[in-house]
């Protein structure tokens, strides 16, 4: 038997395997960690204040507690009544692309173990936004949205909506129940025409990425999926 093992080892040296690509260089941008939180937070506060005043038209006296939950690019505004917002429509997600195209246009994209049914890219969100969809486009079972540090997300929640910090990635927050979600445009402004109604959502930060997972899931199910992403 040792003879056979020796022959196998020798054969292994002669088996054709492709050359190893430079993986270290390829993943360098994906390892980036947040270096400073102050400036983005200040920008986000400014952006959020503009949004509260200009876009949402929430009466100033009745607004608004901003919750900063350790997510650099996400602000939370509590309101007594949700502003009118459309339910999810296909256009909200952007352009449908192939998985390869999504990776090309967003090299930082993380894809969970369970492969999505569709990929969408929206270039109108600063830095690009990719949405992975499971289920039918007309009634998605699950959405995973990924944006970079250049995009800001605002969550408008009712006073009693459960907003809870959770342990996932660098920082995470669980939003239980319906709320309104808005993505900033290139100028950092939120428009109510671009807002939509969202179901329970897990938002978390991984290095330079902000991820949000939305679907009809419990907190535990969402966390389990989130932890397979990265």
């Amino acid at each position: 038997m040792p003879e056979l093992e020796t022959a196998l080892r020798q054969l292994g040296r002669e088996v054709e395997l492709p050359a190893t690509p430079d993986i270290a260089a390829a993943i360098r941008p994906r390892l980036e960690r947040p270096r400073s939180w102050r400036r983005p937070v200040l920008v986000a506060i400014a952006v959020a204040l503009v949004a509260i005043g200009a876009a949402l038209l929430v009466p100033p006296a009745r607004t608004a507690i901003l919750d900063w939950l350790g997510l650099r690019n996400v602000s939370v505004v509590r309101v007594p009544e949700l502003p009118g917002a459309r339910p999810l429509g296909r256009l909200d997600l952007g352009e449908r692309v192939t998985p390869a195209d999504a990776r090309r246009r967003a090299p930082w994209l993380l894809v969970p173990d369970d492969k999505p049914d569709a990929f969408y890219v929206d270039d109108s969100v600063p830095g690009g936004r990719v949405t992975l969809l499971w289920g039918a486009a007309s009634g998605p079972r699950l959405l995973l949205t990924e944006t970079t540090g250049r995009a800001y997300i605002q969550k408008v929640v009712l006073g009693d909506t459960n907003v809870e910090p959770v342990d996932v990635g660098d920082a995470g927050v669980w939003f239980r129940g319906q709320h309104v979600v808005m993505f900033s445009d290139r100028n950092g402004v939120f428009h109510d025409t671009r807002s939509r109604l969202a179901a329970s959502t897990l938002v978390w930060q991984l290095g330079g990425l902000t991820l949000r997972l939305e679907g009809d899931l419990t907190k535990e199910q969402s966390l389990r999926i989130a932890r397979t992403v990265g």
């Binding site: 056979l4 196998l8 020798q10 054969l11 292994g12 002669e14 088996v15 054709e16 993986i23 173990d113």
Partner: protein, 182 residues
């Protein structure tokens, strides 16, 4: 080159504290074996490359859960191999690729093995055919143990089976090879 273990735990510790350069050194030390393992499991170079990239990124994010002082390579190979398996599953391809010998002329230039054995062309083809005729699970265990020269623990991590299963499957595969190759 693989760093000495004490250097490696220092690198892991630095990477765990967010030192990207330390992690890059770890990636450079292990990208070869990670890519080749992914290639065996995914069956093609582009899926293997993606699997290795995603695996290294996930491992970096998961360093907080890595048990300090334990060997890094099996842990990493487990993550990368899992990525590779998922890619293969999602495309519905068969479990392991058929291995091919490198072209004759390049094998002539290959460094002589430590054992001083060179397989004659005909023996090589016959042994390779025997390996390729094994069931997927046996071919993979042979490829991990003898072609990639992974340890039993690393093979177990890469194939997501127990060390005991690696041992029994290897000896069964060797028996089958012996029959086919004798």
């Amino acid at each position: 080159m693989v760093s000495r273990p004490q250097d490696e735990s220092a690198l892991v510790e630095r990477a765990r504290r967010g030192d990207e350069q330390a992690y890059e050194e770890l990636v450079r030390a292990h990208q070869g074996i990670a890519f080749r393992t992914a290639y065996l499991l995914a069956g093609n170079a582009s899926d293997a490359e993606e699997a290795a990239q995603d695996g290294f990124v996930k491992a970096y994010r998961a360093l907080g859960r890595f048990r300090a002082g334990s060997p890094f390579r099996p842990w990493l190979l487990q993550i990368v191999a899992n990525e590779a398996r998922n890619r293969r599953r999602s495309t519905g391809r068969r479990a392991a690729l058929a291995l091919r010998a490198a072209a004759e002329e390049s094998s002539g230039d290959a460094a002589p093995s430590p054992e001083g054995v060179q397989l004659a062309g005909e023996d090589r083809e016959r042994l390779l055919a025997a390996v390729n005729s094994l069931r997927d699970e046996e071919r993979l265990v042979i490829a991990c143990r003898f072609f990639l020269e992974l340890t039993e623990a690393e093979t177990a991590a890469a194939l997501d089976i127990r060390v005991g299963t690696v041992k029994s499957r290897t000896s069964r595969a060797l028996e089958h090879l012996k029959e086919a190759y004798a």
